[in-house]
């Protein structure tokens, strides 16, 4: 019944393979939907704005007077996007410096720490490691970020990037967040005082 058709399929495999091949090469080279910004391009712009609208305590600024360091605890491609979008910018007369950390123990002094979503499991340890340092922590859609003591957390609402702020945690570190940011954010509290 099926005997007479042994020779036909090769062309099929060619079509499939060629289309896979083309698609792979395209996926490698072509920018994805160049018109519309990607999630991390927008998040980079947010980080830039956070730097603009946040005042660090004097102690945090003395040590490094001409740069503003954004530490990134996230995969390389995220770091690359950040470097591309805000790596050359100047904010408050400070040059932005993006620094990637591969492991939370590597974290050195920085003004902003971006904590990638892939680190969510290690969050308590990360926050514990930088405890009491005047670092503006920014979580990348990490559930329970503010509750654990983080300051700003990105949330994605129907492809719109929004953010939550935990003002209590900021106050504890003497970091002042401008009312403009607070107005735009969802306010969450970590309630740590209440728990203690």
């Amino acid at each position: 019944m099926r005997r007479d058709v042994r020779h036909t399929p090769y062309i099929w495999w060619l079509v499939i393979i060629v289309s896979v091949g083309i698609s792979i090469s395209y996926a490698n080279t072509a920018p994805k939907n160049a018109g519309q910004p990607t999630e991390y391009e927008v998040k980079a712009a947010f980080l830039f704005n956070f730097a603009k609208f946040v005042e660090w305590p004097v102690s945090a600024l003395v040590s490094t007077d001409s740069v503003l360091i954004i530490g990134v605890l996230a995969p390389e491609d995220v770091v690359d996007v950040f470097k591309e979008v805000i790596g050359q910018k100047v904010v408050k007369n400070r040059r932005i410096l993006i620094r990637q950390y591969y492991w939370y123990r590597d974290i050195e002094f920085c003004h902003i720490l971006f904590v990638g979503n892939n680190e969510s499991k290690r969050l308590p340890r990360i926050l514990n490691f930088i405890k009491n340092k005047p670092i503006l922590t920014v979580g990348d859609q990490i559930e329970g970020f503010a509750e654990a003591g983080g300051i700003i957390n990105f949330v994605l609402n129907d492809k719109l990037v929004n953010f939550e702020i935990n003002p209590t945690a900021a106050k504890r570190l003497d970091i002042q967040i401008s009312s403009k940011l607070l107005r735009l954010a969802t306010i969450v509290d970590d309630d740590q005082e209440a728990r203690e």
Partner: protein
């Protein structure tokens, strides 16, 4: 990837392209998809604006392109894992759980007849696949009476499946006995994620009727529930000559799930579900009087009830435990073959503890109380009819994160004490190394066991009736029953597993997974003729020649599996799966069991699946699945290449319509055939069905 693709071209068994029309259609579809996406790419070259110049409230109004992430636990899992999210099942037009598993590389899914499936990864497939463990929400669906899973009984409302995790290869160190060749873990959604009403109704040429509903709501602040129910009725399949196989079946089920998060560190879950299924199958059964072997259609009924409770608690930043209890009850009745029930009570505790920065300990203990009662018939008996068999288990796994988390080691073992084979240990050692960011290499060495089932020890199943003189001169003139029988001395089947894998995942749009394995099996089930004896069957004495179980088969199975996910842009995704394996089985002398050659020939050596899905617009999408399964000479099954199509359109915010075509390519094709089991297989027809879904 490419080299292997070339192998496909020279495929000697690709005799699947019968219906030219379908292929012309598919060809055009592919071309259209390709052109569309290329033109879209070239159009999109608009200059990028400097986002930092925008005020922050403007930023909040920009719709961004998001990418689906591989959740960390899968990217870092040191095993050959593939996860099918619920959305993938919907896109693929899946009508039942076994169909979903066809998308996974290295898993063979063969529909035996309308109501039975044979599913196993890495060879040894059978409708009673005894080396493949299946769980649903932490509950074992594997039956310890015959081993294997009754796929016609176990089901859930497909809309509420969160994901299906499939781990190929030995997983016994974590999941216990019988996870020798792999494990399928079906997870349903938390009730807090299923608020609202969903109702679906559909009909088609094979799936005659499919209706179902789910309603979920919030009870108080942190407590949610959902109730669901479904009914499905499947048409008869056909025999190889195209005639009716009389294996129609229907199934109804319903359940309730309650989830509470009284505080952020606690999760409590409660589930109850019941099902009833009834259908027909055709059997070849031995009888004590002429004509001795009869082929008969029989109506079976099966039903079951499950109650499950779960407590999950984070006790500190680094410590987390889980306690699970369930009760499972199922009955199966068939007028000729079987009447019986099985029940299990299971208690399981797990504790995860980060002892320090770089070390994580996971340990647990379990107890399962199982009992069954199978009424003796001439056609099948399990003696004693009633038996109770507890199972005690414990496991410990230590995971180390070394060199800034670039090297991960797992060392651990499961220990079990069971009624049939006594003490079993299943250690493993796993290592994963991040050679570069996103590039992982992993390897594993493990030992796993398949413990004896009730059937392996206690069964008696008459295969044929022969004249006495063929067996012994003493019984000349008498009729002798040749029966497959279990053996009290039957031991566990043992696997020594060596796994090696490479995984690439980027947060952008790629996921590539390559896994190779070299598996050494020993003490596999074999059969030998025993000494003729008199056997009491249903109170009467018959001369019987036992065909008894031994553990004399051994051998190696090795192979490679490739999986690829690729997101070309927001609208267009590919998913490829390829697997190849080779079995080399022998028997320890003096055994002369011929089955080893049989087993070798009972597994397709190559399979591939190519799945692409394309969002035509916000409201419409199309999926195409091509599937190829190699010929299975041992079962006299030709290779087949079939196509599944699914078109979904959201008519408005509440109503969605699915049009699904499955198994296109042949009027009907065989996927599995009977071995030494009573059932007679049938062939899968090409089919279409529609499904209409309302969501409120």
């Amino acid at each position: 990837m490419f080299k292997i693709s070339l192998g496909w071209i020279y495929s000697k068994n690709a005799d699947a392209m019968k219906q030219q029309n379908i292929h012309i259609f598919l060809w055009s579809l592919l071309t259209i998809i390709l052109c569309e996406s290329l033109s879209e790419m070239s159009l999109a070259q608009i200059d990028r604006q400097d986002l930092t110049l925008l005020p922050i409230d403007e930023l909040m109004k920009i719709k961004v392109i998001t990418v689906s992430r591989v959740p960390e636990q899968y990217a870092e899992a040191i095993a050959a894992i593939r996860v099918l999210p619920g959305e993938t099942l919907k896109r693929a037009g899946t009508s039942c759980i076994p169909e979903a598993l066809r998308l996974v590389q290295g898993v063979e899914v063969a529909r035996f007849d309308a109501n039975k499936w044979a599913i196993s990864s890495r060879g040894f497939n059978h409708i009673f696949s005894n080396k493949q463990l299946v769980l649903m929400d932490g509950r074992s669906l594997y039956t310890p009476i015959w081993s294997g899973v009754f796929w016609d009984a176990q089901d859930t409302y497909l809309e509420d499946i969160d994901r299906i995790e499939v781990i190929r290869g030995s997983s016994g160190s974590m999941w216990g006995a019988n996870a020798v060749n792999g494990i399928v873990n079906i997870l349903t959604k938390d009730a807090s994620e299923t608020e609202g009403l969903v109702f679906n109704a559909g009909t088609g040429s094979e799936l005659k009727l499919r209706i179902g509903f789910r309603y979920g709501d919030q009870i108080t602040d942190n407590w949610y529930y959902r109730i669901y129910g479904k009914y499905q009725q499947w048409d008869n399949q056909v025999l190889s000559d195209g005639s009716n196989a009389h294996d129609t079946w229907g199934q109804g089920m319903g359940g309730i799930r309650l989830d509470g998060h009284p505080d952020p560190t606690t999760h409590i879950s409660f589930q109850m579900l019941g099902y009833k299924s009834s259908g027909w199958h055709r059997m070849k059964i031995a009888f004590p009087n002429p004509p001795y072997i009869r082929t008969t259609d029989s109506n079976y009924k099966t039903s079951g009830l499950t109650v499950l409770g779960l407590l999950n608690k984070q006790t500190s930043d680094v410590s987390h435990y889980q306690l699970q209890i369930y009760y499972d009850y199922l009955t199966r009745r068939d007028p000729i073959l079987i009447q019986g029930w099985y029940r299990a009570f299971d208690l399981d505790y797990q504790h995860q503890w980060g002892t320090c920065d770089w070390n994580e300990l996971l340990w647990g203990m379990g107890y399962r109380y199982m009992s069954d009662h199978i009424v003796e018939t001439f056609a099948l008996a399990v003696i004693p009819e009633r038996r109770v068999y507890p199972l005690y288990s414990a496991f410990i796994q230590d995971q180390m994160h070394l060199f800034s988390n670039r090297l991960r080691l797992i060392i651990g073992s499961k220990f079990e004490q069971n009624e049939f084979s006594g003490f079993e240990y299943q250690p493993n050692f796993r290592v994963m190394w991040d050679i570069k960011q996103h590039h992982h290499i992993w390897g594993a060495v493990a030992r796993a066991v398949r413990t004896p089932s009730r059937a392996d020890l206690d069964t008696r199943f008459p295969l044929e009736i022969v004249p006495g003189e063929e067996v012994t001169p003493a019984w000349t003139g008498k009729k002798i029953i040749v029966a497959a029988t279990g053996s009290k001395k039957f031991k566990s089947e043992i696997l020594h597993a060596y796994d090696l894998g490479y995984r690439y995942y980027s947060n952008e749009n790629y996921f590539i997974d390559v896994a190779g394995f070299y598996y050494q099996y020993d003490q596999l089930r074999s059969y030998e003729f025993g000494a003729p004896r008199l056997e009491t069957i249903m109170g009467q004495q018959y001369p019987m020649l036992p065909y008894m179980q031994y553990n004399d088969e051994y051998g190696t199975v090795y192979g490679i599996e490739l999986g690829m996910d690729c997101e070309l842009n927001d609208d267009w995704r590919f998913h490829g799966a390829y697997s190849q394996l080779k079995m080399d089985l022998k028997v320890h002398p003096p055994s002369t069991y011929p089955g080893s050659e049989g087993h070798e020939g009972e597994t397709p050596e190559r399979q591939y699946t190519f799945f692409t899905t394309w969002d035509i617009s916000k409201r419409q999408d199309v999926s195409v699945i091509f599937r190829y399964v190699d010929a299975v000479p041992g079962l006299k099954i030709d290779s087949y290449f079939v196509t599944d199509l699914n078109y979904r359109v959201r008519i408005n915010d509440h109503v969605e319509l699915n049009l699904v075509a499955q198994n296109l390519g042949y009027p009907h094709h065989a996927e599995f055939r009977e071995g030494p089991i009573p059932f007679i297989s049938s062939e899968v027809k090409q089919s279409v069905f529609t499904n209409l879904i309302w969501r409120y």
